[in-house]
């Protein structure tokens, strides 16, 4: 099979799962599609090398997506220190998760914290694997996870209290 045909077959098979993963990472389907398309085009441009070096192009693509998503956020924060988090104001799909407080709380996390949570609980990666995927230290993973969990806990607690009134 030609390399491009192989890549095309890979895209057809992996696309639905990668889009779901992108949806989790970005919090909305539009940014998910953009993130996946960019990542897959990069992978396809060096398909042979990715297959040869990694042996698992799906895992490679998913980690590239997480890293790219977080890197973009880092730049935005550097240039706009007082700006709203980049998700705010972007197009979001509110329908399917409208009644899911945990999803809403997760979506409102800063991207790096959200990525750590997604990699840990959806990808089931270890702390060291998350650090490797995001290009940060294990200490950073630990602190980001701790902040994320504290925020989720606070927000869910608020939701429960408000709902109980």
């Amino acid at each position: 099979m030609r390399r491009e045909d192989e890549f095309a077959e890979f895209v057809r098979d992996a696309l639905p799962g990668l889009l779901r993963y992108g949806h989790l990472l970005t919090g909305n389907p539009h940014d998910a599609a953009d993130l996946v398309q960019t990542a897959l085009e990069r992978v396809g441009a060096r398909w042979s090398s990715v297959v040869r070096r990694t042996g698992d192009p799906v895992a490679y693509t998913r980690r590239a997506m997480a890293n790219s998503h977080v890197s973009r956020w880092r730049r935005v924060r550097r240039e706009s220190l007082v700006a709203e988090p980049p998700e705010v104001g972007s197009a979001v799909d509110r329908d399917r998760f409208e009644d899911e407080p945990l999803w809403a709380a997760l979506r409102d996390l800063p991207p790096r914290q959200r990525a750590v949570v997604v990699l840990r609980y959806y990808e089931d990666l270890s702390e060291a694997e998350i650090a490797d995927a995001l290009g940060v230290s294990r200490g950073t993973v630990k602190s980001q996870a701790s902040k994320a969990m504290a925020t989720l806990r606070t927000r869910l607690g608020s939701t429960v209290r408000e709902g109980g009134r």
Binding site: Q37, E41, G44, A45, S71, P86, W103, S146, L156
Partner: protein
């Protein structure tokens, strides 16, 4: 991370949600989505080859003193660097089409969906963006090199291309980081982790900025994509 006491109660909730979200996470895509991605990868592969060729040409020109003062890859600019005028050497035309100061070929920032369709740059059957700030992305082809336009109810907000193109200052796809820094000195290596665009001003359009994305082939960063966009565009938060 499980040793943190404060996450124990959330832990189970997250596991339950993530075990049950797949159906709701589905993202509907166009029937030709896979084919478009394969075509995009093919274009990127060609671009990397073009970029590599561009680096070779620049190296050859360096011998004639044209870009001799450009610092070594990833070294900081020095006092001997050329001033950031962005002027290209005479007789060295920038490759590809000019993107900016306010458009890319017939596609202009602020152009409505109908005006964009009338240029022939997008397919008439593409769904129009809805009202409000939500944006839709359209593949550009035909009257421009391949690219994408992000459009909302206020018109075209972002125009992107990975094809050979150059900014108003002459920075082109395929340029190395150091070449780019001669023209836009604030572009640092730290700011361009792969896939991470950096903003630079557009000469002649105070409302717009370029978002330049670098890729890293085997041996260093090169300009992979140039986006012309309104400085306050709402379509791509991280651009």
């Amino acid at each position: 991370m499980n040793e943190h006491d404060d996450i124990d109660d959330i832990d189970g909730e997250l596991r339950r949600m993530f075990a049950d979200v797949d159906d709701r996470l589905d993202v509907p895509v166009r029937p030709d989505a896979s084919a478009r991605i394969v075509a995009g990868a093919r274009r990127r592969r060609r671009r990397v080859v073009v970029a590599a060729a561009g680096v070779f040409v620049v190296a050859a020109l360096a011998g004639a003193g044209v870009v001799f003062a450009i610092p070594e890859r990833d070294a900081p600019p020095t006092a001997s660097s050329p001033p950031p005028s962005g002027e290209r050497p005479e007789g060295d035309p920038a490759p590809g089409m000019l993107i900016g100061p306010d458009g890319f070929g017939p596609v202009r920032l602020g152009m409505s969906y109908d005006e964009l369709t009338a240029t022939g740059a997008i397919e008439p059957g593409d769904p129009r963006p809805g009202a409000g700030p939500d944006c839709a992305a359209f593949e550009l082809a035909g009257v421009t090199p391949a690219g994408r336009a992000h459009v909302n109810a206020d018109g075209v907000q972002v125009i992107r291309t990975t094809e050979p193109a150059h900014t108003t200052d002459g920075v082109s796809t395929g340029w190395t980081l150091d070449q780019t820094r001669v023209v836009y000195p604030h572009v640092s290596r730290q700011a361009i982790a792969e896939g991470n665009p950096v903003r630079v001003p557009v000469a002649g359009n105070l409302d717009a900025v370029y978002a330049i994305t670098f890729a890293r082939p085997e041996d260093g960063f090169v300009v992979a994509e140039i986006a012309l966009q309104y400085a306050d565009q709402p379509c791509i938060p991280y651009y």
